[in-house]
């Protein structure tokens, strides 16, 4: 999976881990525990696609995003950008790559320097990366073109961030991200802080820019509706693990992991009649702590289908065909045949074994036996 570089892949993430130490002790910093923020995650991004990442708060979405851009030093694993392992590069070696990968943040206000004018905010990275070949004047023209491209006006050049609404500030953040003509944009909750009506504007803008500039997006959000709208593929994370990856539409029509199914069913549909007609699964309990995650399947403490194997054996990521990978001993919405045809995916975590899910006939029998 790792050696044979996929030429179509812009980014390849291989068994990536990011643990954060928790220290205690007044005199000596002693590591007492670790947050398993990202725990053996493997996937690759194709050029021009939008890869959505969803999951509950604290499941590791932002940490994963920051690892992709090497804003963190991963505990283990690699991230390759255009075939090059960026996890081992020095600061100086990283610098030329920085312009190729940009990030858009959730809080458009906190991520913009309040004392700088819009022209500087968007223009500074261009100067910093030596993109100002034609001098000051050409930077200004370029910034103004960018501002217009993201739906602001050229005369906004001299204004300060506080003079803009939330949606406009997010546009400034997008213009800044585009300034260096990156190949990859990682957007971490880019519309979560915005009003619904303004969210739609920004989502459409990101969509247009992708077509114009051939961008590859990682789109992180907890709003599954927005993620469905923008994504080609979606990864669902739970406590640091990817539990399901699927082509976007398929994830919404055929969720295989019980957590994905529960997540989708937890979302109230803005249509009273359809809402009433729906069967809802309300998950019990809280999300466990990533410091001491449940063993084996991390979801087993809240899963309505859990059996003994779920708390003793970590389920591998299993390939159900068409790029639909799921880590669960009791997959939902798949046929007997699909289960029999499934194989362990190369993306599966090292710690997971190769125990494939049993076809339902057998597991139903097993469940009946264990309960009697």
């Amino acid at each position: 999976m790792s050696e044979a570089a996929d030429t179509d892949a812009l980014v390849e993430v291989d068994h990536l881990k990011q643990y954060f130490p928790i220290k205690s002790g007044l005199l000596i910093d002693r590591e007492v525990a670790r947050v398993h923020a990202v725990d053996d995650v493997t996937f690759s991004l194709r050029r021009g696609e939008t890869f959505g990442v969803v999951g509950e708060s604290g499941c590791g979405k932002s940490t994963l995003s920051r690892c992709l851009l090497r804003l963190l030093d991963p505990t283990a694993g690699t991230v390759r950008f255009e075939g090059r392992d960026i996890t081992t590069l020095s600061r100086a070696q990283l610098r030329p790559l920085r312009s190729e990968m940009q990030m858009i943040f959730q809080d458009p206000y906190a991520s913009l320097n309040p004392r700088k004018r819009v022209g500087q905010i968007v223009g500074d990275p261009i100067k910093l990366h030596g993109g100002a070949k034609g001098g000051e004047g050409s930077v200004k023209t370029r910034v103004q073109t960018l501002l217009e491209r993201v739906g602001l006006q050229a005369e906004h050049y001299n204004r300060f961030p506080h003079e803009f609404s939330g949606g406009q500030r997010q546009r400034i953040g997008i213009a800044r991200a585009l300034a260096l003509e990156p190949k990859l944009i990682v957007a971490d909750e880019p519309v979560s802080a915005l009003d619904v009506s303004v969210q739609a504007q920004i989502v459409n803008l990101l969509d247009d820019l992708q077509d114009d500039f051939g961008l590859t997006y990682v789109f992180v959000a907890h709003d599954l509706g927005v993620v469905r709208h923008v994504s080609d593929r979606v990864a669902v994370m739970y406590l640091g693990k990817v539990v399901e990856v699927s082509p976007a539409e398929e994830l919404y029509t055929k969720p295989v992991h019980p957590y994905t199914a529960a997540l989708l069913s937890a979302i109230p549909i803005p249509d009273p009649r359809e809402n009433r007609a729906r069967r809802r699964v309300v998950l019990q309990g809280d999300v466990p702590s990533p410091i001491d995650p449940p063993p084996a399947c991390r979801f087993h403490t809240r899963c309505p289908f859990a059996t003994e194997v779920c708390s003793t054996v970590e389920p591998p990521l299993v390939d159900y065909g068409g790029g639909h990978l799921v880590a669960c001993h009791h997959p939902q919405n798949v046929s007997e045949q699909e289960i029999r045809a499934a194989t362990v995916a190369p993306e599966s975590p090292v710690s997971a074994g190769d125990l494939l899910p049993e076809p339902r006939g057998d597991s139903a029998r097993a469940a009946a036996q264990s309960s009697s």
Partner: protein, 340 residues
């Protein structure tokens, strides 16, 4: 029809600021009926929270100016004394917020805070109050409340804190619960737990005013809906009226711009162009004029909130119901843009 429990009449709330007067609430009228869940939705900054906080007397400050009337049990809460308000607050009208930490005191044990709340309004012994606090925690789904009652707020997760807040709100069996974005800070699966809890407790909660930006949540538990825009109510109706026969173009835009997890995915998300209006210098006439693709000459004059569609629905738009029906469909969905 059920009786009105609370009547808000032509409420205006303005704040003097360095930049000028912010007219946060600009002539809002509605009534809350016995036993109903009334949802208030609308753009950020449209005055939802200020309306709710004013009912509780929480916006009173030297830079604030009020007009109108808030009728509750024969009294006018807008002009009530602090003494009267204290009696009503927590006891007859309780409020829960987006961030429970704003109402929970960080250094006191949760059980103590709930017991205190009970004793503030009722003559009961310490032991009885504590017992009732335990029962309340159990009622809102906190596991092993006997031991949890001695926890501090920070020892609870976000979802548990919101449950504790609901327990505290229930402590004195209030007649009205005002919930301002009670689930916004929570994860979807935890939000589902809280929504189903509010649903289960409906008979105990009396009437509920639910402020939210999530139309899914509205569809799930509201009876009636109030849509606010720029400090005003632009539309009001029953749940069914609002979702299946919305009258105001802003409501169409709101319903249309939702990215949904079900149904056919539109190629492009319908959106509302532009930004919400300034409350210091709002547009003359219809507040939504500056963003409305259907604006015409009459819109320069402020449309009154009136019944135009039949039923119980009222709205603030000059278009006739026929014009509205013709203009609001896009790709089979409700939307703001005219059909091509």
């Amino acid at each position: 029809m059920a009786e009105a429990l609370l009547t808000v009449e032509d409420l205006r709330v303005g704040f003097e600021t360095d930049d000028g007067r912010v007219q946060a609430v600009d002539g809002v009228s509605f009534e809350l009926r016995e036993g109903e869940v009334l949802a208030i939705v609308g753009e950020s900054g449209s005055g939802k929270s200020v309306t709710a906080q004013t009912i509780m007397g929480l916006t009173r400050s030297p830079n604030a100016a009020f007009e109108g009337r808030i009728g509750f049990e024969g009294e006018d809460l807008l002009n009530a004394s602090q003494e009267q308000l204290r009696r009503v607050r927590g006891n007859e009208i309780a409020m829960i917020f987006q961030d429970p930490m704003t109402s929970l005191h960080p250094v006191y044990k949760l059980g103590w805070q709930i017991a205190e709340q009970i004793q503030a309004h009722e003559q009961v012994s310490k032991a009885d109050a504590r017992e009732r606090a335990t029962e309340l925690l159990r009622r809102v789904g906190i596991p092993s409340p006997e031991s949890r009652i001695d926890n501090y707020p920070h020892e609870f997760s976000g979802g548990m804190r919101q449950r504790a807040m609901i327990a505290m709100a229930l402590a004195n069996s209030p007649r009205i619960l005002i919930a301002d974005e009670p689930t916004t800070a929570l994860d979807v699966t935890i939000q589902a737990q809280i929504i189903s809890l509010i649903g289960d407790l409906r008979s105990e909660l009396g009437s509920v005013i639910l402020i939210t930006h999530d139309l899914g949540v509205v569809a799930e538990i509201a009876d009636r809906v109030l849509v606010m825009y720029g400090g005003m109510v632009v539309e009001q109706g029953t749940l069914e009226e609002l979702f299946y026969n919305p009258q105001h173009p802003y409501t169409w835009g709101l319903l249309g711009s939702l990215a949904r997890v079900d149904g056919v995915k539109p190629r492009r998300l319908p959106s509302i162009a532009g930004a919400p209006p300034s409350l210091i210098a709002p547009p003359k006439g219809c507040r939504f004029r500056t963003r409305c693709p259907h604006e015409f000459d009459r819109c320069a004059e402020l449309p009154p909130l009136a019944a135009r569609a039949g039923g119980t629905q009222i709205d603030r738009c000059w278009l006739s119901p026929q014009e509205k029906a013709a203009k609001r469909a896009v790709e089979g969905r409700i939307g703001l843009e005219a059909t091509a």
